[in-house]
Amino acid sequence: MDIFVFYTLLAFMIIAAFIAVETKNLLSSVICVGAIGFGVSLMFLFLSAPDIAITQIVVEVLGLIILIRATISRDLTFITGDREFFGTIVSIVIIFFIGLAGIMVFFKTLPEFGTPIFAKIPEAASQTYIKEGLRETGAANLVASVILDFRAYDTLGEATVLFTSIIGATVILRKKTRKLLEEPDV
């Protein structure tokens, strides 16, 4: 069952990627990119990595908002007409109940205060970090030993994200690019 859902998500994401590349409308392309991102976060949930799934959702929502804001002035997509009163009420009620269910699940599965999960499970990875951290890495600061030795690969990814975003900001905001943007497209 899990495998089936997994491959369905995979096919969905591949189709969305094709649409995002092939479509002529910029806004629908951006929305397809967002769909790919949410599919990725669902796949992280299936691969039992909820922390990365949460990060992916946050990044995806922010990126989607920024991309829509950037494209909407180019494409000039307007939605005319009044908002339906009944539809608004129904959607608000549905969102409210989904949120209520989420809060219920959150408070039921959350361990009690003072009893972290890794204290209950003896073979958890964090137990190994606490016991072997000083002996294996030699760092008195256990956080440093985790982020720079046990999980340094993760930190390399974070540093790469920061590096790439700075490169993007400096390239977009410098004077040469802005002059190029003001010129009409050839």
Binding site: S73, L134, R135, E136, T137, G138, A139, A140, N141, V143, A144, S145, I147, L148, D149, A152, Y153, T155, L156, A159, T160, L162, F163, I166, A169, T170, L173, R174, K175, R178, E182
Partner: protein, 155 residues
């Protein structure tokens, strides 16, 4: 862009040294006390941002110009990648192999000293350079960026 009043300039020219040294301390002792590359890099960048607020952008650009800052950023990133790759070269074929730590941990005397923990201080210094330079670059680039009024009229 002439900066603020004389009081602000004087105080910030005293405080900037303390902030900078504190940032270096946070980076270097990141494997012993709370802190590390990310936090120390932010503190290093904040000393330059303080200078930029007090003295104006031109003054800071004379000290640490945009090309030099971007070069420091690249050097930090390359140093961190080099630490990872040296682990691959010297160690048991794994990324980020801590290839220094055996000799330091052989005797317990060096366990909590400043020079210990193998590659962790090196990675901290690399990340500190990178984060400091890149945060400074963000503030510098955003302060240079100013949308021209003619561009708005066209749209």
């Amino acid at each position: 862009m002439k900066g603020m009043t004389v009081k602000v300039k004087t105080i910030s020219s005293w405080v900037k040294v303390l902030i900078f040294i504190f940032g270096i301390y946070i980076i270097i002792s990141g494997h012993l006390t709370p802190g590390g590359g990310f936090a120390g890099g932010v503190i290093l960048a904040s000393s330059y941002v303080l200078l930029m607020l007090a003295f104006g952008r031109k003054f800071v650009e004379e000290n640490l110009s945009l090309p030099i800052a971007s070069k420091i950023d690249c050097v930090g990133a390359l140093l961190f990648a080099a630490v990872a790759l040296f682990g691959l070269l010297f160690g048991a074929a794994s990324f980020f192999y801590n290839f220094f730590h055996q000799e330091y941990l052989a005797d317990k005397e060096t366990a909590l000293k400043l020079i210990s923990a193998g590659t962790i201080p090196l990675s901290n210094i690399a990340i500190g350079l990178k984060v400091g330079a890149s945060l400074f670059l963000v503030v510098l680039v955003l302060s240079i960026f100013r949308p021209e009024p003619s561009a708005d009229k066209k749209e």
